[in-house]
Symmetry: C2
Subunit: 343 residues, 2 copies
Amino acid sequence: MARKATTSRPTLAMIAKECGVSNATVSRVLRGDHAHGFSVRPEVRDRIMQTVAKLNYRPDLTARSLRAQQTHVIAVLGLNHQWKSSSDVNNAAIGAAVDVLHELGYSVCTSFPKPTADGSSEGQLPPWRVDGYLLVGIQTHKSLVEVEASGIPYVGINTRVGTKGYACQVDDALGIKKVLDYLQEMGHQRIAYRNGSADRARPDSHAVQDRHVAFVNEITSRQLPLLDHHESMVMDDKEFLNQALAAKATAILSYDLTESIRLMQAAYQMSVNIPGDISLIGFNDEYPAALLTPPLTVMGVPARSMGRQAAVMLVDLLQGRKVDERIRVFEEQLITRQSVARV
Amino acid sequence: MARKATTSRPTLAMIAKECGVSNATVSRVLRGDHAHGFSVRPEVRDRIMQTVAKLNYRPDLTARSLRAQQTHVIAVLGLNHQWKSSSDVNNAAIGAAVDVLHELGYSVCTSFPKPTADGSSEGQLPPWRVDGYLLVGIQTHKSLVEVEASGIPYVGINTRVGTKGYACQVDDALGIKKVLDYLQEMGHQRIAYRNGSADRARPDSHAVQDRHVAFVNEITSRQLPLLDHHESMVMDDKEFLNQALAAKATAILSYDLTESIRLMQAAYQMSVNIPGDISLIGFNDEYPAALLTPPLTVMGVPARSMGRQAAVMLVDLLQGRKVDERIRVFEEQLITRQSVARV
DNA sequence: TTGTAGGCGTTATCAA
DNA sequence: TTGATAACGCCTACAA
C-alpha cells in the first residue's frame, strides 16, 4: 500500500541541525528576509548555503503553502489536452498571461481532468489547491457553476463568466462595425456574410449567433442591402460563392479562418479571383492567414494584450487590490492584407 | 502585498465545532476509515455530511499532502504548450496513462515552465510538489539531469532516461526488420529509404539517425541491394522519387508520416501511381494515415499500451513495489492498408 | 545576530 | 463510538 517515499527529502530542520543553527536562521537565509532589517554572520550564511547544496535541499511547497495559506499556483482551465483543439489565439493569450504570472511570482499549471461517470469530462477543477483560475476556450454552464462554487478567484480570457467572475473579452459587435467601416471605405456596398459551421458542435458557444446577429443589425442600420443568402450556413462553399456572385456581392465577410480558407479553395476551383472578382475579409488573425494566396485581410483579436491583462487582473484580485472593471473589453484590430480590393 | 485570501475556506475544525464533535470524527467520516473497524452513529454521520454540504467544505490538499508526505499528483514533463507540437502518438499514450493513473487514485498535471534567463525553457520541473513524473517527447540531456537530481521517481514514454529512470520504449530496429520481412514477403527486393528531415531541428532526437542506421544494417545483412540515394535527405521529394524510380526501387520506406505524405503529394503531381508504380510504407500510425489515397500501410507504435504500462510502472514505483524491467520494450505493429502492392 | 514557539489543516495513534 | 494529541515542514512574531 501507499507508503512513505523511500528517500525522504531533506528538510529545513536537517539543514539547521547539520549547521548547528536554528530553523529560523536557515529559513531567513534561504528567503533573504528583507522585511526585518535582516542580517547573518557571513560565515553562518555560507555554511548554510553549502549544506543546502550538499543535501540538494528544496523547500517543501506543500508545507510552505499550508503555512502561507496560498500556493502561488494558477491553473488554466478549458484547455483540451486530448484533442488539442486549442486555437492559436488561445495559445498566444495563454503564453502572454503565463509570462506575466511568472514575472509576478506565480507558476501555472493545467490538469488532465478525470472524466466523470457520465462521460462528460467538463469543467473538472484540479483537485490540488491553487490560488486562481484562468479560463480559456469554451466554458459550459456546468463548468462555470463549478468554478464559481469553488470560491477561487478567476478571470476568463474571451470566455463567458459567472457573477463572481472577471474577464477580458473582445467586442465582437464593434469588430463587425470596423469591418463594415473598412469595406464601405473601400467602396463596397453589397456584402455577403458567410456564417460559421465549425462551432455548431459546441452548444455553449454563442459566438456564431452573436456575430451573425451583429452583422444583420449593422447592415440594416447602415441601410446597406441585406443579401438574403447569409442564412444558409449548411450550404456548400461553391454554392455559397455562386449565390454571392449572383447577388452581385462585391465582398464576403466570413465568420472565421476556417470558413475563409474553404471559400478561397472553392474560389480557386471555380476560377473566381480574389480579390479581382470578389473581396474576402475574415475574422481571426491566425496561422496561416498571412500565408494564403492572396494574404487574407482579417479582424484579429489582440490575444497577447488580453492574456497579459487577464493575468494582471487575476493577480490584483489575489493580492486584494481593487479591480475596477469586472469585464475588460478589447477591440479587434484590422490587419490589412491583400484580399480586399477597392471597387 | 500578498495577504490572506479574502474568503477563508471552511476547515475541518469548523465542521467539527458546528457539529459538536471532534476533528477526528469528522475526518473519519469523511474518509470512510475502513481500516480500524470504523463506525459512527448514523445520526452523527448525517449531521456531519449535512454541514459539509452546507459549508461547501473541501479538504485542503496542501494540509493533507503535508501530513501524508505525498500529493497523489503526477506531472507530465515534455509537453510543449507553446507550439503544440505534441504528436498524436504522444497524445494517445498520455491519454491512456492518465486513465490508468486516475483509476489508481492519482491526478495528473502539467506546468507551463518558466523560461530561464538564457532563453531555453528546457526541463523546468514544476515548483509544486508531485509524487512522480511521466516523461514524453524529446528530453534533452539537461532536463534529464534535472529530473534525476530531483530524486522523484519517473517513467519515460518513448524517451531516453537517466540511470535512475524507468521507461517504455519501442524497438525501432525490430520495426525495421518487420517492415523488411513484410516487403520481402510481398516480393520486394529493391527498397529505397526516405530519411526524415523534420527532426533535424531537434538535436537531442536520435531517432532519425538510429532508424537510418538500422535500415542500412538490416538491408546489408539480408544481402538486399542498398540503393544509394538514401543519404540525401535534403533532396526535394520529386527528385527523390525520380531517383528511386530510376534505381528501379519497387518500394519506399519513409521515416515518418510527414515524409510519407509529402512523397504521396509528389507522386500525385508526377502522375506516379502508388502502389501501382511503386509501393510506399511508412512509420507512425497517426492521423491521417488511414485517410490518404491510398490508405497508407504503416508500422505503428502501440501508444496506448505504452502509456498504460508506463502509468502502472510509475505507480508500482511510488507504492514501493518491485519493478523488474527498468526498460520495457514494445514492438511496433504493422498496419496493413493499401499502399503496398505485391510485385 | 540568533533562538523559541506557535500554528497553518489534516490524519493517525492512542487512550477513554 | 469518540476525543485528545502529536506530528508533517515551514514561516514569523517575539524574545533574547
